[in-house]
Amino acid sequence: MAVVSVQGQDLVVEMEGLDKLWALKSRLTIPLANVRGATVDPGILGEPKGVRAPGTHLPKVITAGTFHHEGEKVFWAVRDAQKAVVVELADETYTRLVVEVDDPRAVVAMVEKATRR
């Protein structure tokens, strides 16, 4: 599970508990200007994820870490597909983040509000 928050001009994604371990990352800070949008997307778990390096991938249990697929670098931290949120980025190391959050709709609303110009 990840906790997503807006802190000043940044979007902050913090991994909780053991997910820090699986994802090999405890915190990501992204300038809001580089956040293109957020979407509730349970179905994304069914997509090919590419090559994991580094991180943990136990299909159907946990997808966590950095995945390389078709030239894109995607950060994953998801166990429960129903709670997956996709955050699309620009000009960042990661093309997008796919993270599990407690309340996907609330997170999407928060990101949209913070990034609306």
């Binding site: 949008g37 979407t39 997307d41 349970p42």
Partner: protein, 152 residues
């Protein structure tokens, strides 16, 4: 980093508009868009950024291509509106999304200008709502294969 665009962006937006015209925003999943619109998930995110990004592109396309060019026709007596995406946006998304609200408001104002009377606009909107129960709802396949009707 270059983005791969192995699809026609306008076709994707048009197909998405058809889907969003039939269902509420929350009723359309990314799985639905991938399946019916025929766009890869990664491309959808890469080009539009989010579901909202694609929705806004679809709504703007609908307004620019289907609504604005036909505003004058709406002034005719007994005109029947078929702008389902716009009208669904007014009901479903405008209260949630200020950008949608702004676009819908400006189109309604343009409609007032075209009809010359806000009362005519209200009657048009009322007739659209009144006619909903008797609309022949095509199946999903029909809806996405059939071209938009000739009415306004």
């Amino acid at each position: 980093m270059g983005r791969r665009r192995s699809f026609d962006e306008d076709e994707v937006v048009e197909a998405a508009a058809k889907l969003f015209a039939r269902r509420t925003y929350d009723g359309v999943s990314i799985d639905d868009l991938v399946k019916w619109v025929g766009v890869h998930r990664n491309s959808l995110y890469g080009v539009f950024g989010s579901k909202r990004g694609l929705y806004l592109a679809a709504l703007r396309r609908h307004v620019d291509r289907e609504v604005r060019p036909r505003l004058a026709l709406a002034a005719r007596p007994d005109a029947v509106l078929t702008w389902d995406l716009l009208l669904l946006a007014a009901v479903d998304r405008a209260p949630e999304d200020s950008e949608v609200a702004g676009l819908v408001s400006s189109v309604f104002a343009e409609l007032d200008a075209a009809t010359g009377d806000p009362g005519v606009t209200e009657a048009l909107l009322g007739r659209w709502l009144r006619g909903r129960p008797s609309v022949d709802v095509p199946t999903e396949d029909d809806a996405l294969e059939t071209a938009p009707g000739e009415e306004i």
